[in-house]
């Protein structure tokens, strides 16, 4: 199944976007008497995208782009008279590929879990899920910043309808709040992208304004003040999407009201659009801005970790608890990223994947309980382990993964992230220590929830469990089949995270770290373009063998590197990369 040629890979990448889009139209326009086909078509498409995404991820290497397709989309004017070029440029690289695989994994499961839950406006529902799928893949594979933005915004529309039509009692308010909140942030990001592209055209001496990611992420010459402001502009859009404390207030409501599939995709993939945005755009495009704001970001991250965890503690609604846990968990993710050390970044990406799997799985299990008991209130539920042993097994497994039990996936990323924060020169031990308290709190609220729902005397609302929709008291075979892949992923990534990090680490180092290191080395030189760009590759490739040799303020030390190797095994060292563009 590994794509043999680049043409095949390109076909696969485009298929990820256009197949769900096409299927969405087909599903929507199905005649009424064929309504039963809609879920099956959606599931088939979901399985196909998974089967396409997984080999694509396995085929990505540390360097270079896989399955590149580049075509001009909107071209006005030319080099002589000046103009504008927006390209349809998609490709996978080692940073985006794991997220594409995660999306590919969660989509079919989200579709499958809706089979019994969705009973009205069925065709529309699956059409919107498929449209959302196309948007999510588009975000991760876009190599043109404006194309990224188009997909980024496009994902709002399907999710708006998924929450607003099929959500809980307060769905319309939740949908509106979600849409407007995220839209406000992203329009400011849009202004930032525009400004950056115009400045870039000016700096590179071209009169055609374009948004190519490679050009923008190798750009030099922006002043520190500009970068700092641009970072704030990017922050507005991405931080709301993450959601980053204190801009998280839309999330619990949206999560609680969304249908199960919506919550799974929202937590599993859509929140990653924000963190991916930070990693892919904020850090390499405006590295000086990132360095400048890193401490503030660190503060907000640990505030979010602790605040989110405390909020979880007092919830009685299981789904809301899982929703708030996302705020806490994504705080860890951002903490790792803004430690600005290589393994912090890779821990942060791992965290994105692991959070997507464990939280997605938790939402699935909560959804399954809700379908049977029509409540998520912990005061009304209890001792379900007696009646639902299989469900109990899965819930406990995912809870343990979420709180970072060693051997399961959450542990690796959580530990790496905290370790990075502790060792970082921009952040420091204090951040690591406070962040670690989040793990403790996480264990408390998660186990507390599991204890109340699963163990103790049996408590059920009257007239439940409701098995009218073809459900059984314990999980059905379909539901087990939905959870098994996630359980496998939880264990597999726990014991062998290198399957992701082997190609991820060098790519992160090359595309992100070098830019950030260069910016940190020349913090306030506004136009130090020539020297920095010329010397960066050399410095960074020397970094591992002679750390901290020339600069006192280097943000990467030998101890850090050893710590990473201890963590990942003896030969987890990162291969050296040739200098030059990626």
């Amino acid at each position: 199944m590994i794509p043999r040629s680049d043409a095949m890979a390109a076909l696969g990448v485009n298929l990820l976007i256009f197949l769900p889009l096409l299927a969405a139209i087909v599903v929507w326009t199905l005649p009424e008497r064929r309504e039963g086909l809609a879920p099956r078509i959606a599931l088939a498409v979901g399985v196909v995208v998974f089967l396409v995404a997984l080999p694509l991820w396995l085929a990505t290497s540390a360097e270079g782009l896989l399955g590149q397709t580049s075509a001009s989309w909107i071209v006005v004017g030319n080099e002589d008279v000046g103009g504008l070029r927006i390209a349809y440029h998609v490709a996978l690289d080692a940073i985006s590929a794991p997220l594409v695989a995660l999306t590919g994994l969660l989509v079919p499961l989200a579709v499958w879990c809706s089979f019994t839950a969705i009973k009205h406006r069925v065709r529309e529902y699956y059409a919107w899920i498929l449209a959302l799928t196309a948007g999510m893949f588009g975000v991760f594979v876009a190599r043109d910043v404006l194309l990224f933005y188009v997909f980024f915004e496009f994902t709002l529309v399907p999710l708006y309808f998924l929450i607003g039509i099929w959500g809980g009692a307060d769905r319309r308010y939740a949908a509106n709040k979600f849409f407007i909140y995220t839209f406000v942030g992203s329009v400011i990001t849009f202004a930032g992208i525009l400004y950056l592209a115009i400045r870039a055209a000016d700096l590179t001496g071209t009169s055609v304004i374009h948004f190519d990611l490679r050009m923008l992420s190798t750009l030099t010459g922006l002043s520190a003040a500009e970068q700092s402001l641009l970072f704030v502009a990017f922050f507005c859009g991405f931080a709301i999407k993450v959601p980053f404390f204190p801009l998280h207030t839309w999330l619990p409501l949206a999560h609680t009201e969304a249908p199960t599939a919506g919550s799974v995709l929202l937590a599993g993939v859509l929140l990653k659009l924000g963190t991916y945005g930070f990693l892919r755009f904020s850090l390499p495009l405006v590295p000086a801005g990132a360095v400048h704001w890193a401490t503030v970001m660190g503060w907000l991250a640990i505030a979010g970790i602790v605040y989110g965890a405390l909020c979880c503690w007092v919830q009685t609604d299981v789904k809301k608890l899982v929703a708030y846990s996302s705020v806490s968990h994504l705080g860890f993710c951002m903490l790792g990223m803004f430690s600005l050390v290589p393994f912090g970044l890779s821990g942060s990406v791992l965290y994105m994947i692991n959070h997507g799997i464990s939280t997605g799985a938790l939402f699935l299990v909560v959804g399954m309980i809700y379908e049977r008991y029509h409540t998520r209130d912990m005061n009304q539920l209890g001792g379900l382990a007696r009646k639902m042993p299989v469900m109990t097994f899965f819930l406990v497994l995912f809870v343990l993964s979420s709180i970072g039990l060693p051997g399961l996936n959450g542990f690796v990323s959580e530990f790496t992230v905290l370790f990075a924060a502790y060792n970082s020169t921009t952040l420091g031990p204090a951040y690591g220590v406070v962040g670690a308290s989040g793990i403790l709190l996480g264990a408390i609220y998660m186990l507390y929830m599991a204890g109340r729902v699963l163990f103790g005397p049996l408590k059920e609302p009257a007239g439940t469990p409701d098995t009218s929709a073809g459900l059984t008291t314990d999980l059905t075979r379909r539901e087990i089949a939905i959870l098994v892949p996630l359980a496998i992923a939880v264990v597999a990534l726990g014991v062998f995270p290198r399957v992701i990090t082997d190609s991820l680490d060098p790519a992160l180092d090359h595309q992100v770290m070098q830019r950030v290191t260069a910016a940190a080395a020349a913090p306030v030189a506004p136009f130090a373009s020539a020297t920095v760009s010329g010397e960066t590759p050399k410095h960074s490739s020397d970094r591992r063998t002679t750390p901290g040799d020339t600069r006192g303020d280097t943000i990467f030390t030998r101890e850090d590197s050893r710590g990473l190797e201890r963590l990942r095994g003896p030969d987890a060292g990162v291969p050296e990369l040739a200098a030059g563009g990626f």
Binding site: V81, G164, N176, V187, I209
Partner: protein, 531 residues
């Protein structure tokens, strides 16, 4: 400069003449005793517009591009070509949408007035003389008063027509007053390079006696024209007028007066050589733009009547376009050229607005035309195509990517940022204006979403019913089709807008330095020869 005889200049007016003649004929046909003759009115209008499109498309009636017939008060430039094309195109859509809107015996007058109004827009684009410009602007406005009154039998229509008429007349008086000052500065009515030189000279020297006169003239004439695009502080009429008029006419009001007003602003600002990023003019435009979009959006937030909501959102859209006007045509390329972005945006806004009003015009709720959010609730279940068209129009107006409205905002705000990159003086203020503009488009999302939510999210047992007529539905579908086409292929329209503004670009650069006081005429005339 080629000398052109009167005969040629009449031939070059062929599309306008065709529309005007047919308009006069419709006045007669509409009164015919036979019912079938009266019913032919709409078909005649449609065919005329399509013939005119063909004429314009194949260049009939256009002398060589950019050759000016200044002596006759008209200059046929690429701006004319663009304005003709899009006006006729929108004219076709408006005809379809308002097909059955006026009563049968008044249809002749109604469509004649529509044709006259469209002629007015095309003439504004080619006006090269203050008098012609004023007359063309009035030719746009006066028929719209009549159309509003004719559009429904409801007394509110007459009320809104009267209101529009009196305020419009006052605004026209302001424009005329301003033009008279400009006449004094220029020493003639012609808007050619000589005029640009004189105005530039007057503006450049604050001590000169002509300076005050020039500033007053510019401000007054701009103020009068701002009424046409419903910019703050001359925006108060718009909600009442839209609400009183039938929906298709309200759709027309979103394009016809706006396009004419913006083209007139282009003409007036060309006189100042687009010195829009400096001095008084900058501050006037900055404050008007910021106030217009903010006021429009804040007022729209409070509406439950969709017609009023769209009216106030129309104010906000004028504000966005003023950002492009502030950026001016001086930068490079589509992103640098604010006026090209404005031309693109006004077309997209016109189509999306018309699409929304077409849907409202088609729907009837409890026997009355649909107007409020409640009236259109739950449409998706019963009439999915209408509901989706409404949603598409709203998403376009919202500027959500990748709708064509987003490409419009991209080029408008991009042009302002590019202008900020060029100037030193007010850089931060221009960037601040762009931030205000993007935040406003986010605020706008809140009320557009209310319409979308009503149509798509809510469910109802007694939905609005579409009328039996096919034509308005066709018009709406055509609007939707155009929006979809521009979503994936906006390049052509953007490029057309770009090439339309070359004249503005050249005119403002023709006299680079203020002409020497003694012989401004020679410098101004000599310059174009070198191009």
């Amino acid at each position: 400069m080629p000398t052109v005889s009167a005969a040629v200049s009449l031939g070059s007016l062929l599309p306008e003449v065709l529309l005007a003649v047919v308009g006069c004929a419709l006045l007669i046909v509409g009164q015919a005793a036979r019912r079938s003759a009266r019913q032919a009115v709409t078909w005649i209008t449609l065919v005329t517009l399509i013939v005119a499109i063909v004429l314009v498309r194949f260049g009939v009636g256009m002398p060589a591009v950019d050759s000016s017939v200044v002596s006759s008060g008209l200059a046929f430039t690429s701006l004319t070509a663009f304005a003709r094309m899009v006006t006729l195109l929108l004219g076709v859509l408006i005809t379809l949408v308002s097909w059955a809107c006026p009563r049968e015996e008044e249809r002749g007058e109604f469509f004649a007035m529509m044709l006259f109004s469209l002629v007015g827009v095309m003439l504004v684009a080619s006006a090269a003389n203050l008098v012609i410009l004023f007359l063309a602007l009035e030719l746009v406005s006066i028929p719209t008063y009549v159309m509003i009154a004719l559009s429904r039998s409801n007394p509110r229509a007459v009320e809104s027509a009267t209101k529009y008429f009196f305020l419009g007349a006052a605004a026209a008086a302001l424009t005329a007053f301003g033009f008279s000052y400009l006449y004094g500065v220029i020493g003639g009515a012609s808007l050619d390079h000589v005029a640009i030189g004189r105005v530039a000279e007057a503006l450049a020297d604050p001590a000169a006696p002509a300076h005050t006169i020039a500033v007053i003239g510019l401000l007054l004439s701009l103020l009068g024209v701002l009424f046409k695009i419903a910019a703050v502080p001359l925006h108060f009429y718009i909600a009442d007028v839209y609400q009183g008029a039938a929906s298709p006419v309200a759709g027309l009001l979103g394009f016809v007066p706006k396009a004419a007003g913006l083209l007139a602003i282009f003409k007036i600002l060309t006189l100042t050589q687009w010195n829009t990023t400096e001095g008084t003019l900058f501050w006037i435009l900055w404050i008007v733009a910021a106030a217009t979009m903010t006021v429009g959006n804040v007022l729209a937030l409070q509406q439950t009547n969709i017609k009023r909501l769209l009216a106030y959102s129309g104010i906000a859209h004028s504000g966005y376009m003023l950002v492009g006007i502030l950026a001016g045509p001086l930068g490079d390329g589509i992103i640098g050229d604010g006026t090209a972005a404005v031309l693109y945006y006004v077309v997209i806004y016109g189509i999306a607005n018309l699409c929304a009003f077409a849907m409202l015009g088609v729907l009837r709720s409890k026997g009355r035309p649909a107007e409020t959010l409640r009236d259109v609730a739950g449409l998706l279940r019963y009439y999915p195509s209408l509901a989706l068209l409404m949603a598409l129009a709203m998403f376009t107006l919202m500027g959500l990517p990748p709708t064509p409205g987003f490409w419009g905002k991209l080029s408008l705000f991009g042009s302002a940022l590019a202008a900020a990159n060029l100037v030193d003086l007010h850089q931060k203020w221009i960037i601040a204006l762009v931030i205000i503009a993007v935040l406003n488009s986010a605020v706008a999302a809140a009320y557009y979403l209310r319409v979308i939510a009503a149509v798509l999210l809510y469910e109802t047992d007694e939905p609005a019913e579409p009328s039996e007529r096919q034509a308005p539905l066709m018009g709406g579908l055509l609007c939707g089709f155009l929006l979809l086409a521009f979503m994936f292929y906006p390049s052509r329209l953007l490029a057309m807008g770009r090439s339309a503004t070359t004249t503005l670009h050249e005119a403002s650069q023709a006299v680079v330095a203020p002409a020497p006081p003694t012989e401004p005429v020679r410098t101004a005339l000599a310059e174009p020869e070198t191009h």
